[in-house]
Symmetry: C2
Subunit: 241 residues, 2 copies
Amino acid sequence: MTDTPQPKRKHIPQATIKRLATYVQVLESLARDNVSVISSNPLAEACGVQGSQIRKDLAYFGEFGIRGVGYQVNHLISSITSSLGVDHEWPMVLVGVGNLGKAMINHIGFHAHGFHIKAIFDCDPFKIGDKVHGLEVFPTQEIKPIVEKLGVEIAVITTPPERAQRAASYLAEGGIKGILNFAPARIKVPDHVHVEYVDFFRHMYNLIFNLTQDPKEAKPERDAMDIKKHLFDSDPGQIRD
Amino acid sequence: MTDTPQPKRKHIPQATIKRLATYVQVLESLARDNVSVISSNPLAEACGVQGSQIRKDLAYFGEFGIRGVGYQVNHLISSITSSLGVDHEWPMVLVGVGNLGKAMINHIGFHAHGFHIKAIFDCDPFKIGDKVHGLEVFPTQEIKPIVEKLGVEIAVITTPPERAQRAASYLAEGGIKGILNFAPARIKVPDHVHVEYVDFFRHMYNLIFNLTQDPKEAKPERDAMDIKKHLFDSDPGQIRD
DNA sequence: CAATGTGAAGTACTTCACAGCC
DNA sequence: GGCTGTGAAGTACTTCACATTG
């Protein structure tokens, strides 16, 4: 029942996509240290996953390794980024020029990875017209026309929670297709718009729950060298996010 | 084989913990709108999950609902937060007083939810002694003694990637048990320290991959009202992170 | 012969379906 | 009657184990 077992070329798990970003992060750090070749197991160790996981993740996109040798670091970085579509510039807009918004506008790595913020918006009349990192703050009413004119597909929301929905609605009207939402609020958007939630609180809650639950001894008396994971169910370095 | 089926009270999936943070977020917004009772299905809809998922998640911690009625919003919020251990203050320290660090120090909701930053550190000599939101910036060498003196268990890292490891090592030496790492770098810490990674790039990569892959028509010609999800494998509102 | 790529086995999480309760 | 709480069924993801290849 519910047939069509593999109707599309291949179904790629969301979990795989998320890990690929981490692989790139670690590979970039290896490249900085002039490591030119790495095999799946040491790479996996640095990423906090199993070697077989990396091999399987990569297999969804092609064969990038050399048997008996490993992966060429630079080649693998460009293979992954081009597979994901992040190998070129992505113009963006940002709504909510508060502390966090400014931090994102000024974020060096963000720009360096091709995420270029082209226009910024706020609903506070005292902020309109201000310049942040060379960009003028426009009123949120201008979102639709400006997004349409620029033809931008991605937006970042860094408003307080109560203003996130309105920002999202304006953005959707302007034709935005993807939203990175830092506001601690769920938003409703038309079906074809993707939303990614960056939620500090989720991470904090997770941290605290693990802290208070885990009866991992605080003082590692015994040789805490090699009992890394596999203790019971803690997996400290797991990606999972 | 690999016996001991349920050796601990009950194994709670990590996935459940993450969703609970979202439930609280949505419940708090309902409370602001003076909604006093809600049943699992509408709550689930607002959170982007199935009703049965919420019921099962909550069941790990107890029975919080009234059959035939639903859940009392305020009661459920306090039940969840106390189950997670986030119903009281958590003192913290922060390393890396850049744009993002300052944004976190000034983050209202963060403080309002009991996450109180008690000391801040940076390695830039020009920043030492500055005051940010009433807190003096201390040199990173001071991390160990200050963390020990304050007895703080949680830290936030908002340094550039290349300085994250050093910060983490100092923090671990000082006896920190949990780290929220915003730096785009993996860090190695002793076994008993939990690390949560807040990774914008992962979210951006995910967004862009979904954007470029999904052949979801950009212009919803047909009645895009009710073909919400179940189209094929997109699930726009899913928590999953 | 070391390390990749991959079906097959195992595990973890999600959804279903319905008994039990208000 | 409506909605919770929960075993049982289903799905998705991870790990194993090994044939394959440079």
